[in-house]
């Protein structure tokens, strides 16, 4: 009895990449050589030349003034001749 195959027999699976690299090291060198070109496509962020200034001066001042208030009051009392 004859066996009928419904589909074409698939070729045997081969580990193509490993075969290539092991058989042709030149390709690996080429791939490694392409890495910088691949990285060139990345978005690069550069630090700004101007320093980043966050204006918190007003808030810091008030906090500082509250901290210094008692000491300043004492200073005025202790130096009554110049206040």
């Amino acid at each position: 009895m004859r066996t009928v195959e419904l589909t074409d027999p698939a070729p045997l699976a081969r580990s193509a990449a490993m075969d290539v690299s092991s058989r042709r090291p030149g390709l690996r060198i080429l791939a490694v050589g392409l890495v910088p070109f691949a990285l060139a496509g990345c978005i690069t962020l550069e630090a700004p030349t101007e320093p980043i200034v966050i204006e918190l001066n007003v808030n810091i001042r008030q906090e500082v003034i509250y901290r210094l208030a008692e000491d300043a009051g004492n200073t005025i009392e202790e130096n009554a001749d110049i206040f």
């Binding site: 007003v58 001042r61 008030q62 500082v64 003034i65 509250y66 901290r67 210094l68 208030a69 000491d71 300043a72 009051g73 200073t75 005025i76 009392e77 202790e78 130096n79 009554a80 001749d81 110049i82 206040f83």
Partner: protein, 134 residues
């Protein structure tokens, strides 16, 4: 007997010394008072307290007023610098805080600088001060 007398006298002398020291402490004013010229300029409104913690000339400047104001401000700056350092603050921060307190401490009739920079006469009401003042 003589020994007893000597000890008694020593005790009396010690007590007298302690009393004299105590009296001397009372006699010396705890805090020095304002120079009469400064007190007069302040009372007449010729000088006033600025927001920045220093004294300012309110009206027309005269050499005498400038001398008084400079003298006070130099002394204030030295005190501010020392206290600012002790409190890990900047000179300006400490001076501004002292300005808040000095304006608050003005007596009715004395001049002080309002946040808009204008000179105001202190009334019995609270003075107009910087919003950051405590």
């Amino acid at each position: 007997m003589g020994d007893f007398m000597t000890r008694t006298m020593t005790k009396m002398m010690l007590a007298a010394a302690v009393a004299a020291t105590a009296l001397g402490g009372i006699a010396t004013p705890a805090f020095a008072q304002r120079d009469p010229a400064y007190a007069a300029a302040r009372a007449s409104g010729e000088v006033g307290e600025k927001m920045d913690g220093y004294l300012g000339i309110v009206g027309a400047e005269t050499p005498e007023l400038r001398r008084i104001v400079n003298d006070i401000n130099i002394k204030r700056r030295a005190v501010y610098a020392e206290r600012a350092q002790a409190n890990n603050a900047t000179l300006e921060e400490y001076a501004l805080t002292a300005g808040c307190q000095a304006i608050l401490a003005t007596s009715p009739g004395e001049k002080y600088q309002a946040p808009d920079g204008s000179w105001q006469t202190r009334s019995s009401a609270a003075p107009l001060r910087d919003s950051r003042c405590p």
